[in-house]
Subunit: 321 residues, 2 copies
């Protein structure tokens, strides 16, 4: 249940379809992100810059821009940069927590610069997100983003609280996914246009995103995900694949997660996969994406914009197909 | 160069002098702080609540309220709570970085709940600070507080970057103190009333606060500070006492900070004290406080308010006398 995997973005398809305006605005977002790691007369923010330049899918900024639309309000580019800064901050902090050596196939800030600098780098990215919006007087965006940040931290705390607890059920798991992932996707959409249909769409695909990420942690392969299989199991993070596998194959819970080594974690991954649970999780995620599309369909957006939304939604799924 | 020591607050003197209004508002701040750790239908925020309830000097909230004045704007109580939340967030994160077992004589969140929960708890407190202000539409306060938070993180990064580097000079040290400590004191004053004289006063006493804290790290005694002498030296943090001591006693730099154990750190503390550097640092800090008072004296505040400001300034010094 990490928040990310090193798979190429579905950006290209969306950019092709949307012709001119979206690439230019994504370019402006990148420019703002680059500025965040520079320009204070010192190189202290080097880690921050490294993190930002390492790229990523920029899914959340793209959602902000798409929801704002071609004629969207001027603040959308700034809001897109701000939400990516918050996302990056959580990634840097996650890597501190997990002592993760790699992220997207590159060494993490925590690995190259130590926990201390990584924690401060996350704090810097986080602070800059709000400073960026505050300087532009974007009060409503700050309200949305700070509320989503509260949810992220609560989700992280919930996950820590649940660690190694194999008695947690699907509802609890889904609540964690909402806090930790879906809320930020919903926030991205609302930053673009504060609309319930768009917010619901974001929440649906965000939840699907997390479910599919958790499938990937079990299934790998490592050369695609950029991390070892069973990382969640080794961290004690009980995800839906394990919960559903245990319903089909109760003996699966005989293993004490605290005593797993990486070989045992891989073996447990194989057993989860053999139970058929991964197909079940994947199918739920696809249903969530379909539901997200249906909600938008009922909201009266024009065909061109719906096509773009569908492409982003499909992109979330294609990363894992 | 930690940000805190376990010495009782100078609050009482200020409260006595200000008669009625200040204690009531500080009580409202405490109420808001308490709410931040509750009320989400779960006990996840327990660590956050524990951190907040552990109390502290509440110096920054008091500065906000004093600068806002008895007739101050309604948002002052909220701003006072928000700046304390940011301050607490940095303390929780500092304890993660330093793996500190104790803070104010109590176990740290990092020690009782692990780095993971402590990092997330800091993120939660931080997010709540901005959510609190955003919900009330306090745009200018968010701008001030996010800028100060950026400075805090940059100061932390600068300190990490300088670790074990005994060639850093006084200017660099002071720049770090400004980023890490003085800016938040200045921000507290400006949150109360966005006035250059008040901001300058806050910056002066904030800088003095950090210098005196760094004296205390060398001098102790541990039963008053709640931590071992020489903690900064063991962390590789070069502070003004060491910089000035080395000017008087160059042989003091023969020790490689990386190889210090706690006995060697205490011996180095004794040698720094013997050099007379602590008296020199203390005298600079007192001059900064006097300068801060002079600035306010020229700004035309009435006698009653100046008396309150002087009491806070003296409180910063008295903690260390």
């Amino acid at each position: 249940m990490t928040r990310h995997s090193a798979v190429p973005p579905p950006v290209t398809a969306v950019l092709d379809a949307s012709s001119r305006w979206l690439p230019a605005r994504l370019g402006e977002v990148e420019e703002i992100l680059r500025e965040q790691g520079e320009g204070h007369g010192e190189t202290l923010a080097g880690d921050a810059a490294m993190t930002l330049e390492a790229g990523g899918k920029r899914l959340r900024p793209m959602l902000v821009l798409l929801c704002a639309g071609e004629e969207g309000r001027k603040g959308a580019v700034r809001a897109a940069a701000a939400i990516e800064l918050v996302h990056m901050a959580t990634l840097v902090h996650d890597d501190v927590l997990d002592a993760a050596p790699l992220r997207r196939g590159r060494p993490t800030v925590a690995a190259t610069s130590g926990r201390g600098r990584a924690t401060a780098t996350g704090d810097l990215l986080f602070s800059r997100a709000f400073a960026l919006l505050a300087a532009a007087g974007e009060g409503r965006s700050i309200e949305l983003l700070s509320a989503a940040s509260v949810a992220l931290a609560r989700g992280e705390l919930a996950q820590r609280q649940d660690a190694y607890d194999t008695s947690i059920d699907e509802d609890r798991y889904l609540e964690r996914c909402r806090l930790k992932t879906a809320t930020l996707f919903e926030c991205a959409c609302r930053l673009g246009a504060d609309d319930d249909a768009l917010g619901g769409f974001g929440a649906s695909i965000g939840l699907a995103f997390q479910l599919l990420d958790d499938v990937l942690d079990v299934r790998g392969p490592p050369e695609r995900t950029g991390k070892a299989r069973g990382t969640d199991l080794l961290d004690g993070t009980v995800t839906l694949p394990l919960i559903l596998a245990a319903e089909r194959d109760p003996g699966i819970l005989a293993a004490d997660l605290r005593s797993l080594d990486s070989a045992a974690a891989e073996a447990l991954c194989d057993r989860i996969e053999a139970s058929g649970a991964l197909r079940q999780v994947r199918s739920r995620a696809l249903e969530m994406v379909a539901e997200g599309k249906r909600r938008l369909g009922a909201a009266g957006f024009d065909a061109e914009r719906r096509k773009l939304f569908d492409l982003v939604a499909d992109g979330v799924v294609q990363r894992y197909s």
